[in-house]
């Protein structure tokens, strides 16, 4: 396998990991954010958590694997991105910590205050994570100040954080939050039953419009703030167009109560948007806003051919196995969840 082929392959593999993460953790971030609003009574909240209880931890591993794979295949990308986004990533970690611990600890005491506090930590942690990821990805597409030595240039982390909250970064963050909320609501209509299912359905109708507005802003912003026009042109190609079509079509399925299709449509939007993002980036992995020559690309940021070859062999063996057993768990736990006391697992 040639070096360039391997570098491209690993770019694609890492893109797949991020896409998988957005698709999977997208709905459990959404469910997390909706938790305190959709669930009025304790059993209802428990039922909502149980829709993702089996899966959220496995979903989160997609992020860890994306991080690990980036480290192994593109050490410079990993080093520049993680050190550059230092404080936002710190906040992301805090969000993930609060969320992860709360899933396990919220039911350990019957005290309503205790439970309510953890429920809000799940919601806030999920919100923080979604917002920060969206903001970071938008800034990756827009470009960040990277110098000749591949280091992020900024007087300090606070300045970096504020500069990441530029209009496009904010739009990216809000669009991610909005789409994940919709994705989460759709997932809940699939997994819940009874009154909660109705409530989730009603909510997803409203959330659709918020998501649509956010995505339109994101699309406009992408033309204004990124180099999509020079790199790809006014016509962005079939994939981004399909992604928007998928999102727009979801309202039809939501109204028709075709819950599976509505979920699939928003999933398709998320997947295709991520694909579009990585197509816009390729072969760059970090765009320098200071000088194009200082971009990190799959060629100057990658590991050696030997390491990429070894990792490719390992990935070829184990990725199918992981995909098979994760899919199997979704199949095993496909039943709808109700608020019947006897059915709830704590």
């Amino acid at each position: 396998m040639s070096y360039e082929f391997l570098q491209t392959l690993w770019f694609i593999l890492i893109a797949i990991l991020w896409i998988g993460f957005y698709f999977l953790e997208g709905f459990d971030f959404g469910v997390g954010m909706l938790l305190p609003f959709l669930g009025k009574k304790d059993e209802e909240r428990r039922a909502i958590i149980n829709t993702i209880g089996t899966f959220w931890d496995g979903n989160e591993v997609w992020l860890l694997t994306a991080g690990g794979a980036t480290f192994a295949a593109f050490p410079h990308w990993y080093a520049t991105m993680f050190s550059g986004f230092y404080l936002p990533l710190f906040l992301l970690l805090v969000g993930l910590i609060l969320r992860g611990v709360s899933f396990e600890y919220r039911s350990k005491s019957p005290d309503p205050k205790w439970r309510n506090r953890f429920d809000w930590m799940i919601a806030i942690g999920s919100f923080l994570a979604a917002l920060l990821l969206g903001t970071a990805f938008a800034n990756l597409a827009k470009g960040v100040p990277i110098d000749a030595n591949m280091n992020y240039v900024s007087p300090n982390g606070l300045v970096t954080t504020i500069s990441l909250l530029n209009p496009y970064g904010l739009i990216g963050g809000l669009a991610t939050v909005a789409v994940f909320l919709l994705h989460g609501a759709n997932f809940l209509t699939l997994k819940l039953d009874g009154e909660l299912r109705e409530r989730a359905h009603a909510l997803s109708k409203k959330l659709y419009w918020i998501a649509l507005v956010a995505v339109i802003l994101l699309t406009i912003g992408t033309y204004v703030y990124t180099d999509v026009l020079t790199k790809i042109g006014v016509n962005p190609g079939i994939i981004p167009i399909l992604s928007v079509v998928a999102l727009v079509s979801s309202i039809y399925f939501i109204n028709q109560r075709r819950e599976g299709r509505a979920f699939a449509a928003v999933s398709a939007y998320i997947v295709l948007t991520q694909v579009s993002f990585f197509m816009l980036m390729f072969p760059r992995v970090m765009i320098s806003s200071l000088k194009p020559a200082w971009n990190l690309t799959i060629y100057n940021a990658s590991s050696s051919q030997y390491t990429l070859t070894a990792m490719t062999i390992i990935a070829l063996i184990f990725v199918p196995i992981v995909l098979a057993y994760q899919a199997w768990t979704y199949y095993m736990f496909r039943k709808r969840i109700t608020v019947e006391k006897k059915d709830l697992v704590y």
């Binding site: 209880g53 089996t54 899966f55 931890d57 496995g58 989160e60 591993v61 992020l63 860890l64 694997t65 991080g67 690990g68 980036t70 480290f71 192994a72 050490p75 410079h76 990993y78 080093a79 520049t80 991105m81 993680f82 050190s83 230092y86 404080l87 990533l89 710190f90 970690l93 805090v94 993930l96 910590i97 611990v101 600890y105 039911s107 350990k108 005491s109 019957p110 005290d111 205050k113 205790w114 506090r117 300090n156 982390g157 606070l158 590991s303 050696s304 030997y306 390491t307 070894a310 990792m311 390992i314 990935a315 992981v322 057993y325 768990t329 095993m332 736990f333 039943k335 697992v345 704590y346």
Partner: protein, 462 residues
């Protein structure tokens, strides 16, 4: 404080904190899997209750291990971008493999295990807890391969063109002798930690004559595993000493406070140095013992710190190559002393259990406190192994000051350091209280799920 020191503090705190949860996860998984298997075979309700009760403690602990582990993976890039660039070609691989091979497995099947009871076939439910145990231990293996490489780099070349270390032999990386002594030492530490939690909690209940059959059975398993595993830990440690003799002589000299080269080398029971830390003032020593620990015979030469310092200066240029000896010296002793005490305590329990009414024996009332020992010993061991590597990040290859992220400022680091401390501190309080509450509530509460346990809310606002 300078940025390097702050990043070091942060890494030390976050990794020690992570290590508070990891060994119990590593060891307890095996116990729960074993108990559930026994239930599957015998249909004896007590086994089922045991799997449930100890499983509950495992779960409370597990969550913390997972979330603090994410921080570790991200920190290499966040705080140590110089390191990540220089060794990512090698070090990234085991981390990525860990996520793919182990982390997916443990987290996916943990979910299956928690939510699967009564919903999926019993065999599958049983298999899932075994997969959790295997997955978490596999995860430790890959991390220790990564860490072993930092202690004893192998299978790489320095590439002048790219200015970094690059992997040339994957099998040397995963077959690293250093890593494998770490691995069996550490996996056994996991078992010892879980065994001592079981011993302490069981003793607490037996002293109160609660659930006697349940806790006697638990105590017996705990003591057996505690004894066997602590012997393995010792043997692993002994092998480690000999590898250190060849691979990291400075660390060996520093943990023993050997200033001048000795042949044969004596073992220090107590050494007091002067304030410069470079000279010995007074010590009590056992002759020959250090030679035995270092090379398994009684007369080899063990190099002293002063000679090694001179040698390293000649080899790597001027600088201080001596680790903080007061730390390496004392952590080694804490680790070793508790290790031996745990071995003794396990054996004592097994002997005592041969007679009826052993719960009334003097000494038994101290057992509930024994659980502190594996934690103190384990933490000391890690502090020793990582501080003993200073000033190197990768032994002989990359120094700490060249490993940091150059873009981080003191302010950034203070924000994250204080942030982690606050979040971790409050979570530690919550987690400790939960553990204690569930451990002391006994098996009935664990059977009835979480709802029945009354727990006073944490936090001052209510």
């Amino acid at each position: 404080m300078n940025p390097t020191l702050l990043s070091q503090w942060q890494f030390a705190l976050t990794s020690i904190y992570h290590w508070l949860f990891v060994p119990l996860t590593l060891g307890m998984g095996w116990f729960v899997a074993y108990m559930q298997t026994r239930y599957y075979q015998t249909r004896d309700e007590t086994w089922r209750k045991m799997a449930k009760f100890w499983g509950k403690l495992l779960l409370i602990n597990f969550a913390m291990g997972v979330v603090t582990g994410i921080v570790m993976e991200f920190q290499f890039g966040m705080n140590w971008s110089g390191y990540s660039r220089y060794v990512g070609d090698i070090f990234g691989a085991p981390l990525a493999i860990e996520a793919l091979l182990a982390f997916f497995m443990e987290s996916t099947f943990l979910g299956v295990w928690i939510f699967g009871e009564g919903r999926i076939p019993e065999k599958v439910h049983l298999a899932s807890i075994w997969l959790v145990a295997i997955g978490s231990n596999l995860s430790a293996i890959w991390i220790l391969i990564a860490n072993g490489w930092m202690q004893h780099p192998v299978g790489y070349v320095l590439n002048e063109a790219t200015g970094r270390a690059e992997l040339v032999d994957f099998f040397a990386l995963i077959g690293n002798s250093k890593a494998w002594t770490f691995i069996w030492h550490t996996l056994a530490v996991g078992l010892v930690t879980a065994a001592f939690l079981i011993i302490s909690v069981s003793a607490y209940h037996l002293l109160r004559k609660q659930n006697v059959d349940f806790f006697r059975r638990s105590l017996r398993i705990g003591a057996w595993v505690g004894l066997i595993a602590s012997i393995i830990v010792f043997l692993g440690g002994h092998t480690m000493g000999q590898l250190m003799y060849e691979q990291q002589p400075m660390k060996l000299a520093a943990l023993e406070a050997i200033w001048e080269t000795e042949q044969p080398a004596s073992f220090s029971l107590l050494t007091i140095g002067d304030l410069s830390g470079r000279r010995e003032v007074w010590s009590i020593r056992i002759p020959y013992l250090m030679s035995f620990l270092a090379c398994n015979n009684f007369d080899c030469e063990v190099k002293g710190v002063n000679e090694l310092q001179a040698q390293y200066e000649a080899q790597y240029g001027p600088g201080n190559y001596i680790p903080l000896m007061v730390v390496t010296y004392w952590t080694f002793r804490i680790m070793m002393v508790f290790g031996f005490i745990m071995m003794g305590v396990s054996a004592w329990i097994l002997l005592a259990m041969r007679r009826e009414g052993y719960e009334n024996r003097p000494g038994f009332k101290w057992l509930p406190w024994a659980v502190a020992m594996p934690y103190l010993a384990g933490m000391s061991g890690w502090i020793l192994t990582e501080m003993g590597r200073q000033p190197w990040v990768v032994y002989g290859l990359l120094k700490v000051e060249d490993a940091i992220s150059p873009n981080l400022t003191v302010a950034d680091l203070w924000i994250s350091l204080i942030g982690y401390t606050l979040v971790y501190g409050s979570l530690a309080v919550i987690m400790f209280r939960l553990m204690k509450k569930y451990a002391l509530a006994g098996p009935e509460a664990a059977m009835h799920e979480s709802v029945d346990v009354a727990l006073s809310p944490v936090g001052a606002d209510d």
